[in-house]
Every structure is written in C-alpha cells, then in structure tokens.
Amino acid sequence: MLTGLVDGILGGIGIGSVLLLAALGLAIVFGLMGVINMAHGELMMLGAYTTFVVQNVFKSLGGDWLETYILFALPLAFLVAALMGLILERGVVRYLYGRPLETLLATWGVSLILQQFVRSVNWVLVIGLALFCLFFFGGMWLLSRRADWQRLRGWAIALLLPLSLGISAVTGNILSQTYKLVVTKPWFGAQNVDVTAPKWLRSGFSLGSFQVSSVRLFIVALTIFCVVGIYLFLQRSPWGLRIRAVTQNRSMSACLGIPTQKVDALTFALGSGLAGVAGCALSLLGSVGPNTGQNYIVDTFMVVVVGGVGKLVGSIVAAMAIGTLTYLIGSDAFRPLLTAVPPLADFFTFFSSTSMAKVMVFALIVVFLQVRPAGLFPQKGRTVDA
C-alpha cells in the first residue's frame, strides 16, 4: 500500500515536472501576456536542435568533454530560443496584440515555417537568406535616412524586393551548381537526429525497492531551478517589477514611464528562452526532430488553462496534478485497491491503456473546467476583464 503510494507520487512528479518545464515558458507568454503562441513547441524544438549541435561540437572535442555538454547546451538553448522569440515578437506578434485570433493563426504559420526550416536548412538556404536580409533590409535602412522616405517607401519595396530576391536566388543557384552536395545537403534533414544523454544521466539507481531514473531526477532539479529563478526574477528584479506592472495595467504603466514595448519584447524572449531550456532537457527523454514541438503543445496549453491563466503557482499545481493522474490511471494503479468492487476495477482497467488514460484525463479536465471555468487559481480583481 505504502509502496504503491510512493511509487505513484514518484511517477507523478516525474511526468508532472516534464509537463511543467514545457509549460513554464507558455505560462509566461500566454499567462502573463495573453499571447496565444502556437509556435511555443517549435521554440522547444530549436532548443533541442541546439542541444544536438552542442553535443556534436563536444563530440569532436573528444575526451571527457562529451560528459559535460548538457551543462553548456542548457544556457545556449535558452539564448537561441530567446533570440528567435525576440525576432518573432518584433517581427510578428507586436503587430497583433489584443487580436487573439490573428495571433493564433500567425504563430501557427510561424510554427510551420520553423518546422520546414529545420527540415530543409542547408548552406545555400542560409547564404541566400543572409544575402536577402542584407540587401533588402540594408537597402531599406539606407533609404530610410532620406528626407522624402515616406513618398519613396512603396517604390523602394517594389524595387528592392525583386532585386534582393533575384540576387539571393542567383547566388544560391550558382553555389549549388559549383559545390553540389557540400552546400545543398541539409544540415539536419527530415530525419530525427540523435541526442544521447551523457553517461551519468543514462543509468538509474535504486532507492529501496524503487528504481529512479537519473534523467527524471535531473529534470525535476532543473524544473525547480527554473521555477525558483523565474520567481526571483519576477519578484525581486527591477525588470520583473516592470513586467508585473505592465501585465496588471498596461496604460497606467506606460503613463508612469515604463517602456512597455521593451517589456513586451523581454517577456516574450524570456518565455521563449524557457521553451528552449525545456526543449534541451526533453531531448534527453524523447526524440529530436522537426515534429518534436507538436507533441507537447497541447499538453502545455492544458497545464496553463487548468492552472488558471496568469498564475505561475497554478501551472505548478496543475502540472503535478495532471502528471500524477496520468500516471495512476495509465499504470493501472487503482486495480489492487478496487478488487472488492469488480465493475469499478474493470472500468479502470479499461482506461488503463496509455491512449485511453489520456482520454480519461481530458474528460476529467473538461468536467473540472465546467466547475471552475477560470482554472485552479483564477486571477482576481478588476484587471481580469481588461
């Protein structure tokens, strides 16, 4: 009985921490900013690919370096995903604040672009893109310093766009003609890539009669680290104060001289960076491929919605609850308790297959949201309607 309880809690925490880590970034972007970011999963994927690249670099260094790569991959994954998030916010999301439907569609489009990008990225594509950006945005920037810029703008775009497109296309063609496979070979390809955990994370150890896997333990530790880090950042740092102020009342904060645009960009980058960290950690458990992110996006939204939008503590409790529930139903832990009541035992056995367990968990969530539509920890006060 007691062993069953401990086993359930350990398994639940294991699944829950994975859910929480994946949902943390979204809890900030969706929870605090109210932006429905469908590309969240793809930011995780970028983090996972960063891990892959770092692993390969360390592999080529040889020796004991490979054992430590994950410690370098984590901050780098944060940076790469945060940078991508920054570009996404500056390039797309900032034009769409307050329009949830458009944001949803636009970020969904971005997620598809990112997926296809990692599938087909090669030197030709990168060089072409770089050239295009250089000519188009460089040219726009140069021209924008002229006094009659407003009048010229339309013509400048009409001229620069085909010109820079043409230059990059021709260069790409010439490059692929001359160097063939060297430049046209995709970096990652459509195949999943192989991220192998360092040796010290691959084994498990016994704790009494329980087998604890070290990767799970590492993820639990990382999750705690991230949660504490975010808490301190939001509560103790000046930028955290500004973020909280803007999420509570945007116009008042702007009046008081808080640079809301900068705060938006920073918040979005922070959430994206956390997605990168999650992607890095989850590459130790699951697969790394163009579709990696899609596998998590539904779960992460589920955690944030059940926890209550706008509350980090809600996400934590929700992740742990969903994790434990999934584990208990999925591993058929109720059966020994219910042998006295055969119909009930049969009922739980029917739902004990992993895909049926998911059905049951979702059904329970639907029922729960009927009772508490705003989630576990709803936001209170006048800002809710705003």
Binding site: V195, S287, N291
Partner: protein, 440 residues
C-alpha cells in the same frame, strides 16, 4: 498621406498577374490536347500518353513534408537512385524515365488528390509511392477506379490484395510471424506487446496474439501509445509489474514514441539482457536517430539489413552513398523501393509497352530480380517473395544478422492465424480466382 500603391491598384495588378499565370499554365499543361480529351477514366490509360516522346513518365508519390517525411524522404532517394541507374544504362524500351515527384504531405486526402493528378494530368505510366497503410487505403479507390498501377514499398499488416497494387514490402508472414517464432525459440514465452495506437500495430498484435495462442505461449500485457506521444512512464511501470523477472517486449511503436520508449527503458534499468525487445518499425535510419547507445542488444526483424553480404548489396550501398553522402545508411523500405523500380522496368520490357496496364501487370508476375537482399520474385498475389532476417543492433548502429532463412519465403497476404481470413488466398494470374478466394 496618399499611399502610392493603393488597394485598387493592388487588385488590378494582382488579378492581371493571376490571369496571366492561369493562361500560361493552361498553355503549358495542354501540349497534346487530343490525349487529354480522348482518355476516358475507366479504360486503360491511352497509349498516346506516357509513352509518347523520348521519355516515359512515372510518378513518385511520398510525403516530403509533415510527420511522415522523416521516413519517406529516404525512400524517394532510393527510387530516384534506381531511376538514375536505369536511365544511365539506356532507359526502358530505349526511352529515358522521367520522374514526376509529388508531395503527399502526410495527409491522406492529399495522397488521393495527387494520385489523381499524376494519373489524369501527367499521364504517368505507373506510380511508386505511399508509406503508411492509411495513405495506401486512401489512394486504393483511385487506382481501382482508373485501373492504374501502384508500387508500394513498405512492410504492412496484410489483409489486402488489390489487382492494382504491387506490394514489395513484407507481408506479416515474412516479418512478424517468423520473428515471433524466433523469439519463442530463443528468448522466452512471456510477451508484452507495445504499439502505437493505429491500424498497423493493432492488426499486427491481433496476429501475434492468435499466433502465440496457437503455440501455447502467453501475452501478459498489451498497451498502445497515441502516435507521437513521448510519455512512456506508465507503460514502463506496467511492463515491470507484468514481467518482474524479465521477458520479451514485442514493439510495434512508430516514430517518435520509439525514441522516448528506448531512452526511458534504459533509464529504468531494463536492459536487453532481461527485457529483449523485437521491433518491426526500427531500421538503420531509425537506429541512427534514436542512438545506438540505447538500442544496442535489441532486435529487429526485416528482409534486408545494410549488413547483408551479397554482391548486389555492396553495389547498392556504394551507389547510394556516392549519390547522397557517405553518412547515409540504407534500410529495408529503401531496398524494397529500389527493387520495385527495377521489377517494373523488367515487366515493361517483357510486355514491350509501358502504357497497357493489363499487359504490364501480367508481365510483372513471375519476374525475378537479383536484389540486394538476395533473389526475389513477384508472386501471383502481387507480393514479393523475400528472405526473412533477424538482426541485433551493434555499436555502430548497424545490425548483426543473427538469423536468416535459407531462401525467399513466399508471401501470404491473407493471414492464416486470424479466423476471418483463414483459408483465403489471392491469385491475380487466374481471372477465376482474383483477390480473395477460398483455397479449401
């Protein structure tokens, strides 16, 4: 501020461009209008179509984007390699093969749409394509209605036998059944079945359960994971409960779930010494993606491994690496895709036409080919006889072949362990028998 490029202008220019492109497309796609008008969909494709000119058009229909791109892209590579080789050797009937590649985008209705396009618009002589059973089931009505021809290169669950499809992957009796027999002989009698939650694993497990029951072995548990799901902790807990002292895991998981399953199986301390697993969806490419560190010592059942030692295979692997890079590997579906192009070519040459479907079909039956896996021949039920092999994952990610049949095993599409199809067979060389007839 008046914008120079207003909405109205945009509409005018936009519709002008659109109209021009439609006009151009109409001109380009209809160089031989009489062929397009005379071909009625129910008759065999008109002779004027694919064979005209100096090329023979064939269709390649796989997912180049979406979930299945992971697997299907390399199959396209193998097909392109075969076509390039044939062209270099002089082509078919003195004509070069021209491949029209379409993207099914991992979306089954798209597959049907693109198949229709390839047949009606491009007038291809045949189509090489599909991976998932779902995509095959989606295009099947198209091929039957238009009486066209599909070559399908992937091992599948059987229980199908269409006149319009040639199946060059393994039927269950060429992969699943022999591997279960091998496990019973060498590894144990208690099985846990793990699979993804869709048609192939469920059908495969039905067959395995019927087979194990017939042989007096036991299934201690069965579990399915939604496609793409990576949360495998509950399954691992269940395996441990059901098989506390070790036992056999039969794995029909597909795609990403495999990675999570094997990574976490090792984390839970369940190695192949106590919990050997047999997989039917893990080949060389997947091993590379999962990481050999996690898979070493586990087993897979296929007809072909890159490590098969035949002269034809040496040639195939070398040609593939030369064309696509030395870090690429070859696997079973790629080999099946490669040989099906050659068998089609032989059939066309025997029939002396690429366009008369009936003649090509009749000529295809009985064709033999010296494939990388050993000699194969196309049976009257439109499946390929194949050598069955069991491989164990090595350090370098390739397979050590631990068991292999002496000669090719004849295909049995209608399963003989499952009650509903027991006693049925398929024979397209005899018009009286057809796709499903009772043998007894």
């Amino acid at each position: 501020m008046a914008r120079q490029f207003g909405r109205r202008k945009f509409l005018i220019y936009g519709s002008a461009t659109f109209g021009t492109s439609i006009l151009l497309k109409a001109c380009a796609s209809n160089p031989t209008p009489q062929a397009g008008e005379s071909a009625s969909p129910t008759t065999a494709a008109s002779p004027a179509a694919a064979g005209s000119g100096n090329t023979i058009k064939v269709g390649i229909l796989h997912s180049l984007s979406g979930t299945m791109a992971i697997s299907e892209k390399s199959v396209v590579d193998a097909e392109q390699l075969a076509i390039a080789e044939i062209n270099q050797a002089g082509g078919v009937l003195g004509k070069q093969i021209e491949a029209v590649v379409e993207d099914g985008a991992s979306d089954w209705p798209t597959f049907a749409e693109k198949a229709t396009k390839l047949i009606d618009q491009d007038k291809v002589a045949t189509i090489f394509g599909c991976w998932t059973s779902a995509s095959r089931k989606a295009v099947l009505p198209v091929f039957e209605q238009k009486n066209h021809m599909l070559w399908y290169p992937v091992q599948y669950e059987g229980q199908e036998c269409s006149k319009n499809i040639f199946y060059t992957g393994a039927a269950p009796n060429q992969q699943i059944e022999p591997s279960v027999d091998w496990l019973l002989e060498n590894k144990g009698k208690e099985f846990f079945l793990v699979g993804s939650d869709y048609v192939f694993p469920r059908t495969a497990n039905t067959i395995i359960k019927a087979q194990l029951e017939a042989k007096g072995a036991k299934v201690v548990g069965e579990d399915y994971l939604p496609l793409g799901s990576t949360e495998v902790t509950p399954i691992i807990a269940k395996i441990k409960q059901a098989l506390p002292n070790g036992g056999v895991i039969y794995n029909t998981l597909n795609g990403d779930s495999n990675v999570a399953f094997f990574k976490q199986l090792q984390g839970a301390g369940m190695g192949p010494d106590k919990y050997p697993s047999m997989s039917v969806s893990i080949a060389e490419e997947e091993v590379k993606a999962i990481g050999p560190e996690y898979l070493k010592g586990h087993y897979a059942a296929w007809n072909y491994f890159q490590t098969v030692d035949t002269p034809a295979n040496k040639k195939f692997v070398e040609a593939f690496k030369a064309k696509y890079g030395s870090d690429r590997v070859t696997n079973d579906p790629m080999e099946a895709a490669y040989i099906m192009v050659y068998i089609w070519k032989q059939a066309v040459e025997k029939a002396a036409t690429a366009d008369d479907m009936e003649k090509v079909r009749a000529a295809a039956v009985g064709q033999t080919f010296d494939a990388p896996q050993g000699q194969v021949s196309l049976a009257a039920n439109h499946h390929l006889s194949k050598v069955v092999r069991i491989g164990e994952v090595r350090d370098d990610g390739l397979f050590e072949i631990v068991s292999s049949t002496d000669k090719a095993v004849a295909p049995v599409p209608w399963n003989q362990y499952v009650a509903e199809t027991k006693g049925f067979a398929c024979d397209w060389s005899d018009p009286a028998k057809g796709g499903k007839y009772k043998t007894t």
